[in-house]
Amino acid sequence: MDAVLDNLDVFVDGFTTTLTLTMLAAVGALVLGTLIAAMRVCPAPPLRWAGAGYVNAVRNTPLTVVFFLAVFGLPKVGVSTTFFRFAVVALTVYTAAFVAEAVRSGINSVASGQAEASRSVGMTFNQTLTLVVLPQAFRNIVPPLASVFIALLKNTSIASAFAVADATQNMQGLINANGSAVIWILTATALGYVALALGAAFLFGLLERSLTAAR
């Protein structure tokens, strides 16, 4: 117990890194994922195929393999940067596929009369998608997006294996220094993740309630 209380700052540092990693990758994945979802519903077949190919390939690859490709592969083509940035790239690329699926299901959930109505007032595909369908889709997909982002929060722990000082890596450092308190340190870290996940679920719940349109 003392090992936890004495090293509270190490926990705080670790979870700050975890949260930063989560936020950066979440924003990146939201942008990239929405773009891919738009590609998957657009009229041009090559873009649809490219989007579907991306989603199918990335969703069926373990995140760890994406990490290995980023951390060991990118330096081979002359891209070298910090491990933290590699982790953001890997998490963004991976999570974007799941965001794309969530957004696509949201687009499909918008009543088809909406798209028909916007077409009948002469809107183009881009206008229909960005002005009418996507704004409504995002309201519907808050719950699935919430689970994607909570999964992302948990997935950031994999970065600890690639020299990123997140909560999980700091935990391992603490365990090495205080072997006898290992149960306490592990439990405290797990509870930290649970608290963050519950907090995120709560915030997304608020968001969902404020966005849901009365029908």
Binding site: N60, T64, V65, T168, I175, Y193
Partner: protein
């Protein structure tokens, strides 16, 4: 088409325009591929030495085969144990006794919200220190996978049971079955059919997660890949091959899930209730 149609049936003019965009899109995509290829070429990633081992090095495939077998072994054990744990937890959560229900809810919610890596590290790092026995990496990995996926599968099973029509449990009670018997003999067998597609999808997640074993030194596909890369120094080529192996297995599993789903839709037909949120055990 099942998707929402965001654009009209195309006339001659629109078809021309879409064709134009399509050609433009192909050009842009090819340009991106060309840029990536040039980058790879500039850094000597197309040199034959990096690819030759895939052709004339049978040992490479032997090693990858060992890794793949270990990956499948961990996934197999993990799946069986996770389904068993999932059934126990789901029954616990559906129980009318708070003595069973509350712990089940707590266990499910805790393990679903904890990173899997943390659970694996618990069995690998904390268990030996706390109980004085070292666990094999395979055991630690399988136990971690079991706890996490057991919690997820419990929710899948619960959703399956709750989706059954209320008449099923009412009929079971009417012929005098106790609640445990109702769950075990009437509801679970029917729920299994409904949840089979979700279960197969969860197997994809489980299979992918076995790759976390590399962190604790379990010689699964990815770890073996890492060892091979140290010799051959071709991370891009080798990890892409490993990714393709995972993709091939998981795409087949996904195919299987949707095949089961379409088969069920055909055979069960209208027997499957569409949505019955308050049916089944919810009312009891």
């Amino acid at each position: 088409m099942s998707d929402v149609v965001l654009y009209d049936v195309q006339g001659p003019k629109a078809r021309r325009r879409v064709l134009l965009y399509s050609v433009g899109a192909v050009v842009v995509l090819l340009l991106l591929i060309a840029l990536a290829a040039r980058r790879l070429a500039e850094n000597g990633q197309f040199e034959a030495d990096l690819y030759r081992p895939f052709v004339d090095e049978p040992q490479l495939y032997e090693r990858l085969g060992v890794g793949l077998r270990n990956t499948l072994k961990a996934a197999g054990y993990g799946l069986v144990l996770a389904v068993l744990l999932g059934v126990v937890l789901a029954f616990g959560r559906l129980s009318r006794l708070w003595l069973f229900r509350l712990p089940a809810v707590g266990v499910i919610e805790f393990f679903r919200a904890t990173p899997l890596l943390l659970l694996i590290l618990f069995f690998f790092l904390a268990f030996p220190l706390a109980f004085g026995t070292r666990l094999e990496p395979l055991t630690a990995l399988v136990l971690g996978l079991t706890l996490y996926n057991g919690a997820v599968i419990a929710e899948i099973i619960r959703a399956g049971i709750l989706s059954l029509p209320g008449g099923q449990s009412e009929a079971a009670m009417a012929i005098g079955l106790r609640r445990g018997q109702t769950l075990r003999l009437v509801l679970l067998p029917q729920a299994v059919r409904i949840m089979l597609p979700s279960l197969v999808s969860q197997l994809v997640v489980l299979l992918k997660d076995t790759s976390l074993g590399f962190i604790i030194g379990f010689e699964e596909l990815l770890r073996i890949g890492g060892q091979v890369v140290q010799v051959l120094d071709n991370p891009i080529q080798l990890y892409v091959v490993i990714a393709l192996i995972y993709i091939a297995i998981n795409l087949s599993l996904g195919r299987l899930a949707s095949w089961i789903e379409s088969r069920q839709r055909r055979t069960l037909g209208t027997a499957l209730p569409a949505e019955q949120p308050e049916g089944g055990l919810g009312k009891v």
